[in-house]
């Protein structure tokens, strides 16, 4: 049994917050609502209620969700006694901001860059957007957190050979997942979560790359490090991606992937595979419900909230675009609550 008593108070607070997570019945009610306004009305008696009262237009709902996500990340950072671990989620935002700045720097982007940067840089990372922008403009990479500066150097080197903005995303994603592996790897539950996440992302992305006609060298760069499935397994299935990959997968992924591929073949859509993967990955954190002493409930709450926000966003975006209720229900992620 984990005896990390540093988290006794934090876990108590998280348990109280978990009770306020949205349940499946509520999500189904939201899917069946007539309009986005009705969905917002249903959300008014949840944690989102106070922010929603300030919302003037249903189309601006994403700002509320982003601010909610920022609050959750701030809360977990505040409650955490292992900032190295919880900071990873803030670094994720910094990495995304870096992607944007690096792409603008290395591509022939013609729009008004200042406005574009201000509109798309996200708040909530370790480095505030304004400071990140200034450090980047003055080329003061050394002043950035130690996790960010090596990435920029690596991209500078790689870009001498290849000029595709996609490469920036690939390098940064690889760095981010290496960092996640390094920080989460010591915790059994979080490592299990991360392995599932990386394996399923690699499988899905391997299939996506196949559909886009990507070659072996792209795959080698694209596959994320830190999963249980090795690169050679993917590279050996390169000629018959869908067929031979399924047969080479471990039993725990085989059924899920076969169902996802079957749905893709019938509907030319990855949404079923993505839904099954998301549910399976979050399912790895179920045991955290029974942990009373440890950081796991904090991280699990953060990830559960992320999944909840994904569901809300999907439902409201769907309602704004008149998507049928049954389609929304079929795409719904299994709530953690």
């Amino acid at each position: 049994m984990n005896d990390d008593t540093r988290y006794t108070c934090a876990v108590g607070k998280i348990r109280a917050l978990e009770a306020r997570l949205i349940r499946k019945e509520k999500f189904i009610q939201m899917c069946d609502a007539d309009s986005a306004e009705d969905v917002l009305e249903l959300l008014s008696d949840t944690d989102y209620g106070s922010s929603l009262s300030e919302l003037k237009n249903a189309g601006d709902f994403e700002d509320i969700l982003k601010s909610e996500m920022r609050d959750v990340i701030n809360l977990t950072s505040f409650l955490s006694n292992d900032p190295e671990l919880t900071d990873v989620f803030r670094l994720k935002i910094d990495f995304n901001n870096l992607k944007l700045l690096l792409k603008i720097k290395h591509s022939s982007f013609v729009e008004d860059t200042t406005k574009f940067i201000d509109r798309h840089l996200m708040e909530g990372g370790l480095v505030p957007p304004e400071r990140l922008k200034k450090l980047f403009e003055s080329d003061s990479i050394g002043e950035l957190p130690v996790e960010l500066s090596p990435v920029i150097r690596k991209i500078k080197e790689e870009f001498k050979e290849n000029n595709a903005p996609q490469l920036i995303d690939i390098i940064i994603d690889n760095e981010l997942f290496s960092l996640l592996k390094e920080r989460m790897g010591e915790n059994y539950l979080l490592e299990r979560y991360l392995q599932r996440l990386i394996d399923l992302l690699n499988i899905k992305n391997f299939l996506r790359a196949g559909n886009l006609g990507k070659k072996k060298d792209f795959l080698e760069k694209m596959l994320l490090p830190g999963g249980r499935l090795e690169k050679k397994l993917f590279l050996a299935s390169i000629d018959d991606r869908e067929g031979s990959l399924s047969s080479r997968l471990p039993l725990e992924y085989e059924g899920l992937i076969s169902r996802g591929i079957k749905y893709y073949r019938e509907n030319n859509s990855w949404k079923e595979l993505e839904r099954l993967s998301d549910d399976y990955v979050l399912g790895a954190l179920e045991p955290a419900k029974l942990i009373a002493f440890g950081i796991e409930p904090l991280i699990t709450y953060l990830l559960a909230k992320e999944s909840e926000i994904k569901n809300i966003r999907m439902i409201i975006a769907g309602k704004l675009n008149r998507m049928p209720a049954e389609l929304l229900r079929a795409t719904l992620r299994e709530p953690y609550a």
């Binding site: 994403e62 969700l65 982003k66 995304n96 992607k99 944007l100 792409k103 591509s107 982007f109 729009e111 574009f116 509109r119 798309h120 000029n163 595709a164 903005p165 996609q166 920036i168 995303d169 690939i170 940064i172 994603d173 981010l176 997942f177 992302l201 899905k204 992305n205 299939l207 996506r208 790359a209 559909n211 886009l212 694209m222 994320l224 030319n268 859509s269 990855w270 949404k271 595979l273 993505e274 994904k310 966003r313 999907m314 975006a317 769907g318 675009n321 998507m323 795409t331």
Partner: protein, 204 residues
Amino acid sequence: MRLNVSPNRMEVLRLRKRLLLARRGHKLLRDKQEELMRRFLELVVENKNLRDDVEERLRKGYQNLLFARAMMFADTIESLLSFTTRKADVTVSLTPLMNLRLPQLHLSQEGEVSCYGFAETSGELDAAISVFSETLPLMVKLSQIERWIELMAQEIETTRRRVNALEYILIPSLDETIRYITMKLSERERGDITRLMKVKEIVR
């Protein structure tokens, strides 16, 4: 409607030549109208099939995009798609067809369709982008066909007015005028003969 001309033999000859020319022009214009109409109907059918195909593809593409949009924040998608290396260019050349100069659109594309990493993006975005990328050449073709149809419709309308003007105004007027002059000349000839017979009787 009779033309306002002096009734003499020279005029008849001139009018007969005009009538012959008008009939020949009428036949040519009628043939042109028929050929334009045939091609126009072919294009209308092709346009309908192509439009249905494009609309179906776009419907699927937008559905994929909608799911991608539901999975990711709107400004994330906007920022991802702003850095594409795909470039498209359309050049126009003109093809002559029965007095028409029809624009021929040539689409050239280069670069990668996918311009983002896969780890943080939804597969629905790939599907949407692939569909839109495959649909673009069809949309260019559709716009070319629709412009052709528009130009042909205008030409058919003009030709129809010319054919009608020849058929219902010019040719009947020429016919009527020729008949009138011929009758006038015959009448004059008969009058001359009568006058000659009367003079001959007085002289005798």
